[in-house]
Amino acid sequence: MKSKKFLLPAAVAGVLALSLTACGGGGGGGGTSSGGASGDAANNLDGRGPITYVQGKDNSNVVRPLIEKWNAAHPDEKVTFKEQSDQADQQHDDLVQNFQAKNANYDVMSVDLIWVAEFAAKGWLQPLKDKTAISTDGMLESTVKSATYNNTLYAAPQSSDGGILYYRGDLVPNPPKTWDEMMGMCEIAKQNNIGCYAGQFQKYEGLTVNAAEAINSAGGKIVDDSGKAAVNSAEAKAGLTNLVNAYKDGNIPTEAITFQEEQGRQAFEAGKLLFHRNWPYVYNLAKTDGSSTVKDTFKMAPLPGKDGPGASSLGGHNIAMSVYSKNKATVADFIKFITSEETQRFYATQGSLAPVLTKLYDDQELVTKLPYLPVLKTSIENAVPRPVTPFYPAVTKAVQDNAYAALKGEKTVDSAISDMQAAIESAGAK
């Protein structure tokens, strides 16, 4: 009996340890390789042979047809598709683990543009210059910027995305060009007893997107070109104040603080919003959903800014090459294939993915199929990539927490912005 009493805490400890292990699973071998980066980056530049392409779940079935096409043309350099889950966080963690293990079988991967700086700074991405250079001619400037870290191109733009202002054409004859103009039109919403404007204001990545748009549209910045915190400015405060005041005045309805993309879309489709900021995917749904009451009445416009179009936050993916790949020449060819006009056209028609090539936005055939392209072009041309920094997870946390507190009136815009600045600085100081 005595010995059992003694053993029990040990047994409990064991069970606890097991659960702890589950939590720390991602932590195995947290070492990074900065010194080795140049070494790995210089190897296998002429290597040719079979490669593996890694991407999140292929929901619209575009990857497999493309790879079949490539394989038919390159029998000795076949591409295998490694499909990840459809959760961005899990895709990120999967890539990190394989980079840490220097897995040579992860040759080329689709990378959410907010991860590019982090992966590049860890020395995991092959700089796309010299032998592995990729031409970015004809690509939208902001997409190229999102693939660039420290003045070096580390990835090629693959698909893009930008914010669009959806509005009720039956109630608003001419879309607002500026934020103030839009706020002026909120009277119309009041008369019709509906909410005026909503974006995504729940505390998650979407709030970073919306807060960054408010700040960038007013002429502010979150981080400067060298990745240093630069949010503590009068312009940034003015931008955030726009959102905070609109929420306080009721121009942004109270429940919008619980909105992600889907809740906002549903509210807009139910006719409860006059203006709604969302991504291009809403277009098809709002046109075809059985429950949509705005099928024939909604229209699209670029996001409103200070004096003209606003600065949308950029979405999308870039395609990058691992420094550990054995067949970098093949990978470079494959990246050229993915960014080619033909593939970009296929992406747009088959997968509704916004192209990265400027000229496709004016292509008549595509515009008939995807009527939002001209508006999206303005949006992406004025877009600002979300903060390009290797500390993105910490930066987005700093933006979300403080913008959320300001929206809810828990702190003033001034202290929210200066806390944001301090939090971003402390993330970079590590």
Partner: protein, 339 residues
């Protein structure tokens, strides 16, 4: 248990052969060696699965996270950190831009440590209290003999059988602004958008999900109490309340304490419900959520945090076992005796 089982065997063996003292010792010796050989695989497995990761986490927690080298723009190894990762959490000290340290500004994970510690314990105390009371009540009902009892018992298990992530998504939709909860009560509460409603939403979801677990564990304890005891008490003229207080409660206590212990340990590492329902917004960030968020910002600091979490939970478990008499092994043996 095991020693009690072996004793009769051993006496039987000596009774049969009556060997000299020397050979008995020898037999015991070789048997011991044989036993260790048989145990070795599971011990090695435990070492790999439990001891190595825990030690590794502790070692990592004393390393600095890699930092950005401004000259090259690449990350470089952080080197040894001493207790820096621990003071980062416990004292909420962050690195200042110019070196040195300052209090973690709002919007960093470090600034949330004590808040999430408080949140975690708040959730634990409130949910376990509700679950114990409701679970007891459900167990008492289920212990009675009535028509359709097995149907009720199976039905009660449904919430427990649904994976927590699914439960969380379910309640997320129920508590959406346009969701059933608001429609049903005609309210306009921002369930996931303001502090106390968000906390209560999570508590309600957790209680709904885990009360059946509590009820079943308590039911198991109730069924061990022999009917004769109640009959004797009735004959002696004890009231219902007296029977409950003086018979049911003391006799069910071992099972009850084990159930509470399990639930407390479970609740202290709550992750799925707040992660899915609120993403940790509005004062619902638990320690586990903080660990997962930190993993993406730096493994070594996250290792320190998970070690702290481990120690906290271990301490709570220890207090339960040592001072409150929750003892899984004792409960098992007493149940054996009752049979």
């Amino acid at each position: 248990m095991s020693t009690e089982l072996q004793k009769p065997d051993a006496t039987a063996a000596t009774g049969h052969t009556m060997p000299s003292r020397e050979s008995a010792d020898r037999k015991q010796l070789t048997q011991g060696r044989w036993a260790y050989t048989l145990l070795a695989p599971s011990l090695i497995l435990l070492a790999i699965v439990i001891i190595y990761p825990v030690l590794n986490a502790i070692i990592m927690s004393f390393q600095k996270d890699s930092g950005l080298d401004p000259a090259t723009g690449f990350f470089s190894e952080g080197g040894p950190a001493g207790f820096e990762n621990y003071t980062h959490w416990l004292l909420q000290q962050c690195t200042a831009p110019g070196g040195g340290s300052l209090a973690c500004p709002p919007g960093t994970l470090g600034a949330q440590f004590w808040d999430s510690m408080g949140t975690t314990f708040f959730f634990t105390v409130v949910t376990v209290a509700f679950e114990t009371v409701l679970g007891f009540w459900m167990a008492v009902i289920m212990a009675r003999a009535f028509r359709g009892r097995s149907l009720i018992r199976a039905a009660v298990l449904v919430p427990w059988a649904i994976p927590t992530a699914v439960t969380a998504k379910l309640w997320f939709f129920i508590f959406a602004f346009e969701g059933i909860a608001n429609k049903l009560f005609g309210t306009q509460i921002l369930w996931t958008g303001s502090e106390w409603p968000a906390k209560w939403a999570i508590i309600i979801a957790d209680v709904w999900k885990t009360t059946p677990f509590m009820a079943l564990l308590i039911l198991a304890g109730l069924q061990l109490i022999p009917d004769e005891v109640y009959e004797a008490a009735k004959v002696d003229g004890a009231s219902t309340w007296q029977r409950f207080r003086l018979i049911t409660l003391p006799l069910v206590k071992p099972a009850l304490m084990v159930a509470i212990l399990f639930r407390v340990l479970d609740a202290l590492r709550m992750y799925d419900l707040p992660a899915i329902m609120t993403q940790g917004a509005n004062g619902t960030t638990t320690l586990s959520i903080l660990v997962v968020q930190q993993i993406r910002q730096g493994f070594n600091t996250a290792a320190a945090l998970s070690t702290i979490t481990f120690l906290v939970i271990f301490l709570v478990a220890f207090i339960f076992v040592r001072f409150l008499g929750a003892n899984a092994v004792d409960a098992a043996t007493s149940s054996g005796k009752a049979k």
